[in-house]
Symmetry: C2
Subunit: 133 residues, 2 copies
Amino acid sequence: MTTRGEMWQAEILRLLRQNHAPVKAYQVLATLRKIHGKLAPTTIYRALSALQERGRVHRVESLNAFIACQSRRDKQPSILSICNECGSVEESVAPDLLNDLSNVIGETGFSPKRHVVEVHGTCASCNSRKAQA
Amino acid sequence: MTTRGEMWQAEILRLLRQNHAPVKAYQVLATLRKIHGKLAPTTIYRALSALQERGRVHRVESLNAFIACQSRRDKQPSILSICNECGSVEESVAPDLLNDLSNVIGETGFSPKRHVVEVHGTCASCNSRKAQA
DNA sequence: AGAAGTAATGTTATATAGTAACTAAATCTG
DNA sequence: CAGATTTAGTTACTATATAACATTACTTCT
Ligand SMILES: [Zn+2]
Ligand SMILES: [Zn+2]
Ligand SMILES: [Zn+2]
Ligand SMILES: [Zn+2]
């Protein structure tokens, strides 16, 4: 039952899951080209869009990059913590917080549809590593 | 006492303030080229970076675009509400919320340095316009 | 003031990111 | 199967951003 393009999706998802850091579209492209030869950006972007719609992959807006969804529950809007030192990204789910957020900006009559919450900083392991030195 | 580049900054800031919607770097470039002739992207990007450091301009990460800061207090981290219909952007300040956010992701030992909070949806005026129809 | 050093700006070229428009193939419908 | 429709491949292009180097303007010291 796998339609044609789902193979790209599966392969890209596997690739993203191997990295804990976000991967750029053109990195994906380069990797897949090594295996499959000629391949157009369009193919990658289409697969990435489909993966996003299915909630398997998130786009990291502040990095123009992509990461595999780490949460179990699909399509749950998520919060990304991005380490500036090692590049790792952690995904957290905090419905209450996003709710508060919706309320705050809803005060002026704005109806939220999509939340982008990304926090840059230093992750726990980089923090402790730096505490050593 | 105005160094050369500060003129670009002033001019770009004026331009951004005329638009309530975010402006792309290359739109800025095109506009300034009409007035000043030949001009390189670098010039625009350098001025935009300086403006961001000074807290006069925010980059809208999810749009690759820029907007003049609408808040009085400089450098206050801000929340952007972006209307999908009309493109307008509203800036809100909610220190408590960002504090909560820091706490949530801080639970795992992450130290936040920079917050990106952008909400896409429909603004009040677009909502009421659509309620008519 | 003049020379030498430093920092800011200008210039050229290129890297990186993303999409439009069209073609070809597969799948569906009757 | 014929024809319509959706899906994927291909080509070419547009948009976004930065690197590397050249030039100019400021600073500092003599
Ligand atoms: Zn997720
Ligand atoms: Zn880290
Ligand atoms: Zn602001
Ligand atoms: Zn609107």
